[in-house]
Symmetry: C2
Subunit: 416 residues, 2 copies
């Protein structure tokens, strides 16, 4: 390494983890190149709101260039990384090659369909803006089509919505979709008999949000049931062909809509790195978040397999990604100064999941909340964390409007 | 016609003309079916703002169902009309047939590429949300690519933007694009030399906005020049292949971007109606806006060829469409009551075109304004006419923010 030159840190992925790393090196004498295949940072926890027509993509996505306008040591490059040469220390994109002194891989995760080809073809996912908008367009089209469908069986199938996966995303989506139907679609489709409409949530295991403490799991179940979601635990899906879901016990659900939230795995680029992968395709890293054999390279966020004190891998959560981003930045600073990097320790700040209007569950400082108070905390926490003051005002305005007028603001069907 | 039944009015197209017709029959004893291939009404005058990343699609488009929630005699159907049988009085869509007593065709217009295949393939247009968003994505991508393009000639070509057509749309787009580059892109791309960037406006005739009075044409030229737009009058385009524009005099402009605003013609459905078409494919109608041979059918808005007192066809303007919508509704009411329909007379409410921040031209009550005052009128008129109180607040907030902070709010590149 040329010691006259300031170190070049390359960060792949502008999600929570990548952003925190970049910020953590803001006033530090390094040069940063932040790469992402999109030009925006996505506030993923609210992506399901785009899918059920509650928020606009622009309210949860912000151009990376705008976020880092004031950070002089950072350059953004929009592009897709094809491969990494850890020995020669460069990153290859289509049409360019970028050499690094330190590399941070924060490429995130993608949906895991577990090899179910039919599912990937016919099912919907909520993984990025494109898929969230596709889901929204599909949901709204179902109502449009049902509104002039004379055949009762077909109409019911169009108004049946199946969500697979009882984790936080599945629960939030089911609750919000149920509210969309009962509060908003009811007004837009006055001649449509919405008692035909049904939201069904399938969970293979014995309980919803099974990573959460028991009292929160029970509250969630109750809150979701009150929103008229048909919750089927211990129910595994066998197949979906676009017209009908087949369950493992051989029974059917006639539906045109299946939203798959039941699996995630590391982003595609991770598979081509040639490094050791663990569960869900995530990269096994040292406690310091470095690659064992290439200490100048870090892997953080959803793409990293990091075990906590109990030997369990940390979950794919935004709070984990943010803390790891800060830790990677700190370790890079230490390495630049010739010090040893430190192991990462995750501090659990609590859990939070919403089930819909006035209904959420939270566990903070060891105390469990559910219902309205938890929901208020959820609302303000999300608004606070949305990047950009302007976006915060707009989201607050929109949510206040939706709340008081029982409305959802975006019900456009856009062409793909 | 069954005199026991209330008359069924079918309206094809939920643009300005169709909407005004529907509204004009709101409390009248008719049944209305409003059809549109999209689920939303589009405020077209501001579509160019979506194309230059100044507004979001959702701020200028509103679901038709939401607009008509309170109108009990109206049902909306999302679908595309394939053909009309004027003799048997029914409208054919994919998968359904709708019989009518009165028909209003307000299907609008589309871009006319004048048979230039290469242009249609490589050029951009601003005709609906899909094409406006494509244009926006393309423009933003040009900056992203230029920001890491080492070859100077290629970079200049990426930063050269050609707009063809010196009418209001071309003028507004050129002015707004120039501001995007000089005020906003400058901040997002600090390392990019934007003195390389150029907006070129090509007009085949001897002046811009040639349908406007002379003093407004001159003001517009001056205001646009101040925004550093390279205006080339008496300049005709011969070809565009995606890399270079060839002008009729044989010279070239190296560019990757051509936005075509130089021609419009009636929507595709009009060609399949089997009725007499005049200039721009528009349907020749009687002074009452009825089809001469089928008096139960009206054609209004951009799709209609209506001559004014001077024997000139009325231009494709929203003010014309709105007045014709009201007139069609009035004539239908008269026919239901057994009276004669009345001829339509257009009342010119004035002209208005914007060139960008602080700069517009207007002619109201016979007086010409230009500059800041005209621009203020333009801003408030557009905000007032945007449908939906919530949207008005949001657009006002966004524009106020943009104005004071010299920013544009949506610079997302979305996948197609």
């Amino acid at each position: 390494m040329n010691t006259n030159k300031i170190p070049h840190v390359v960060i792949i992925g502008a999600g929570f983890a990548g952003l925190e790393t970049a910020r953590g090196l803001a006033k530090y004498p390094v040069r940063i190149t932040l790469i992402d295949k999109n030009n925006h940072h996505l506030f993923q926890p609210l992506l399901y709101q785009v899918a059920i027509a509650g928020l606009l993509p622009s309210q949860i996505a912000q151009p990376v260039r705008t976020i880092f306008r004031k950070q002089k040591n950072l350059a953004f490059q929009m592009g897709e990384v094809i491969s990494v040469d850890f020995a020669e220390k460069f990153v290859k994109l289509k049409g360019s090659v970028i050499a690094y002194d330190y590399l941070v891989i924060s490429a995130g995760a993608r949906t895991n369909f577990f090899g179910f080809d039919a599912l990937e073809r016919h099912g919907l996912q909520i993984k990025d803006i494109e898929t969230a908008v596709q889901t929204r367009n599909h949901l709204l089209s179902m109502f449009e089509q049902a509104s002039h469908e004379a055949d009762e069986a077909k109409r019911k199938a169009m108004l049946t919505f199946v969500i697979v996966g009882g984790g936080p995303t599945g629960v939030e989506t089911a609750g919000a979709l149920s509210e969309l139907i009962n509060h908003v679609m009811r007004k837009d489709f006055p001649r449509l008999n919405l008692s035909d409409a049904q939201v069904i949530l399938l969970e293979a295991g014995p309980s919803l949000i099974n990573a959460y403490p028991e009292e929160l799991r029970e509250s969630t179940f109750g809150l979701l049931k009150k929103k008229k979601v048909d919750i089927r635990l211990n129910t595994k899906m066998a197949d979906f062909n676009g017209q009908r879901v087949t369950l493992e016990d051989g029974t059917f659900i006639e539906t045109r809509t299946l939203i798959w939230t039941a699996g995630a795995k590391a982003a595609e680029i991770i598979d081509s790195l040639g490094v050791e992968q663990a569960g869900m395709g995530r990269v096994r890293v040292a406690p310091s978040l470095q690659l064992a054999q290439f200490p100048d390279a870090f892997v953080i966020g959803d793409a990293a397999f990091v075990v906590n004190g109990n030997g369990q891998p940390l979950p794919m959560l935004s709070t984990v990604a943010i803390q790891q981003g800060k830790a990677a930045a700190k370790n890079i600073r230490r390495m630049v100064e010739g010090k040893q990097p430190l192991p990462f320790h995750y501090k659990d700040p609590g859990l939070l999941a919403t089930v819909g209007r006035n209904a959420a569950v939270a566990r903070i400082f060891g105390i469990s909340f559910s219902g309205f108070i938890a929901w208020v905390i959820w609302v303000f926490l999300h608004i606070y964390r949305i990047i950009g003051f302007r976006n915060r005002i707009i989201v607050m305005f929109n949510w206040a409007w939706d709340y008081f007028f029982y409305d959802n603001q975006v019900r456009l069907i856009t062409k793909e």
